[in-house]
């Protein structure tokens, strides 16, 4: 493992044991999928780490070059399968940018609604599985109870529980009604109460704080250099959220919301606890966004009439290229589509947030204990479906 920064053990004071090469994964519950991390251990301390990805490579970019623009939307579902709505949105916006069209206003508000609901569901998984990683099993069941409600809500409008294919170029697949929005409001009220429960059970738990504070410290400079985005970047103290700074949907311009950043409450800025706490506070912002969106949603059509006709024949955008960035639960997802006037793009690149967030892992692990390494991986909240595509 040359070319890696090695953590040197102090041979005079530390107990010296023989070095060991250890494989964490690919079949290990704490790696959240099929990630293999090759570790060099000195006793309990990790001296070098190298992550090995690609076990879930499904040729998503190659497929993109062989299907039409609309046929690719369901494939984006399967990248970050915990936040399918957000992926659909990013791809739809890319195609819309390429076609130089804009979705009707009502559909933009519906998009905000479903995307924020999905963001809560995604952060709930991060919260629940992080508890399991650190030996707390109960929060997982709490998280899945609320996630189940969100999945039921989204199933009502899209027909699918996880892989929605709901947001499409030109608008959304179905319109929503007032009864559904009332249910969403009821869920939000319920969720805010549950959120306090989560904090009682995990956030302020003494053992949990001891396991996460001052562990895996990611400095602001390092986060920027490695291209970390989303909660991982914000936990390092960078107040940046695409929804606020470059609003890619009109409603984000009109809705008031706060961007939580890490503060180093229990340890150092950018440690595992900060990353966890940024996600937790983001969930509260999501419910606030949803309430404002429901209050302000205008009447209108959910899908551009012109687009509906275009659905009958494949779209053929003018030659050109579009790069579209979106704020996903895990960071900035970007699609880069290059058209040469044909029915499918000649290049269909996905810049996955988990891919970039994971690349910093090799630098974070050296010097930590093995058990803390699990805490670091969990705090990055990666989805391997998106890393490998």
């Amino acid at each position: 493992m040359e070319a890696l920064e090695m953590y040197t053990v102090d041979r005079t004071s530390d107990v010296y044991t023989e070095e060991l090469r250890l494989n964490l994964g690919p079949q290990h519950p704490s790696t959240h999928g099929v990630l293999r991390v090759e570790l060099q251990m000195d006793g309990e301390i990790i001296t070098a780490a190298r992550s090995d990805i690609g076990y879930l490579h499904r040729c998503a970019e190659k497929i993109g070059e062989n299907v039409t623009y609309l046929q690719y939307t369901p494939y984006t579902d399967r990248m970050d399968y915990l936040a399918s709505m957000n992926n659909n949105l990013a791809w739809s916006l890319t195609v819309e940018k390429l076609l130089d069209i804009e979705a009707p206003e009502r559909s933009q508000w519906i998009r905000v609604l479903v995307v924020e609901l999905n963001r809560i569901a995604s952060h709930l998984i991060a919260f629940g599985t992080y508890g399991i990683d650190l030996g707390a099993n109960t929060p997982f069941f709490y998280a899945f109870r609320e996630r189940e409600s969100i999945m039921a809500l989204l199933e009502k409008i899209s027909g699918a529980r996880m892989l929605y294919n709901f947001i499409r170029p030109g608008g959304v697949a179905n319109d929503i009604d007032d009864a559904w929005m009332d249910e969403v409001l009821a869920f939000c009220d319920d969720f805010d109460k549950r959120w306090d429960e989560y904090n009682r059970i995990l956030t302020n738990n003494h053992i949990f704080i001891k396991r996460t504070a001052n562990i895996g410290i990611l400095t602001k400079e390092m986060a920027l250099a490695y291209g970390c985005t989303g909660p991982v970047l914000r936990a390092s103290g960078v107040k940046w959220d695409l929804r606020r700074d470059i609003p890619y949907l009109k409603p984000y311009d009109e809705i008031e919301f706060d961007v939580p950043v890490g503060m180093g409450t229990h340890g150092t800025l950018g440690d595992c606890w900060d990353r966890y706490w940024v996600r937790m506070r983001e969930m509260r912002e999501c419910t606030s966004i949803i309430r404002q969106a429901i209050a302000a949603i205008p009447d209108g059509v959910h899908m551009e009439k012109k687009m509906e006709r275009m659905y009958k024949t494949p779209l053929t955008p003018e030659p050109g290229e579009a790069y579209m960035r979106c704020e996903n639960p895990r960071g900035e997802l970007a699609f880069y589509a290059v058209s040469e006037g044909g029915k499918s793009p000649i290049r269909c690149r996905a810049r996955a947030p988990s891919f970039c967030n994971l690349s910093v892992l090799d630098k974070l692990l050296p010097g930590t204990m093995l058990a803390d390494g699990v805490a670091v991986i969990g705090s990055l909240d990666i989805v391997l479906g998106e890393v490998d595509r």
């Binding site: 070319a3 040729c59 190659k62 046929q71 920027l224 250099a225 050109g320 579009a322 810049r351």
Partner: protein, 225 residues
């Protein structure tokens, strides 16, 4: 600053090889010569007015006459972004088998580029010279070829197991009837839209290696065990 201001600032600083801003696409981009790429990237990162602290994405795109390496940069401080392209012209008769375009690496300038460049090498065979850890990232180290190249041929077997390639084109002129007709004329065991190749994905595991030396990738990881 907008893109044209950034480019004029680069010119003022005396950077050579910086082309004109192309505004024909939805995202304007600037073409930079491969030789001056590293100097330009260093300038974009360190200059106070540019302050592009984030390498957002590195993409290689194969076109008919060239392979473009596209760098998407952005600045959180100033809320601006820039798309930089390096164009590698296709030599006469340059194909998947014999042409690997080379571009200097920027992995030491932007750490984020490290994995992105490895991925673009893996899928499109672009060589990033002086990269600190130049290996495949998604595919197995012993894989032959770069699948995102347009003239890539699917392997006919993997590890000695023949691959039953049933690649149905999802869209064909003439609709479903055309697809059905194409399927009917297909002999059993033969892929639909690709000629069967004589290559194997993994010659180490008993398959047939192609004649080019591409398969003999130096697999440093295995030798370390």
């Amino acid at each position: 600053m907008n893109e044209s201001e950034i480019i004029s600032r680069m010119r003022e600083a005396g950077l050579g090889g910086v082309g004109e801003l192309d505004t024909s696409a939805a995202d304007p981009f600037v073409v930079i010569e491969a030789d001056s790429l590293r100097a330009a990237m260093l300038f974009l990162r360190d200059d106070e007015a540019c302050a592009m602290e984030m390498m957002h994405c590195v993409t290689a795109t194969e076109r008919k006459a060239s392979i473009e390496v596209v760098y998407h940069l952005c600045s959180y401080e100033h809320h601006h972004s820039l798309t930089v392209k390096v164009i590698c012209e296709r030599p006469e008769g340059g194909t998947h088998d014999n042409w690997r375009p080379a571009v200097p690496t920027v992995a030491d300038i932007y750490a984020a580029a490290n994995w992105h460049e490895r991925e673009q090498y893996d899928l499109l065979g672009v060589i990033f010279t002086d990269h600190p850890d130049f290996r495949r990232i998604l595919l197995p180290q012993e894989w032959i070829g770069h699948p995102l190249r347009k003239d890539y041929i699917y392997p006919s077997e993997h590890g000695g197991i023949p691959l039953e390639l049933d690649a149905i084109p999802l869209y064909m002129e003439g609709g479903e009837e055309a697809v059905a007709a194409k399927k009917a004329e297909r002999p059993a065991g033969e892929p639909l839209n690709q000629p069967p190749s004589k290559y194997s994905a993994r010659p180490d595991a008993g398959g047939k290696a192609p004649e080019s030396s591409e398969g003999k990738v130096n697999n440093s990881r295995d030798s370390a065990h």
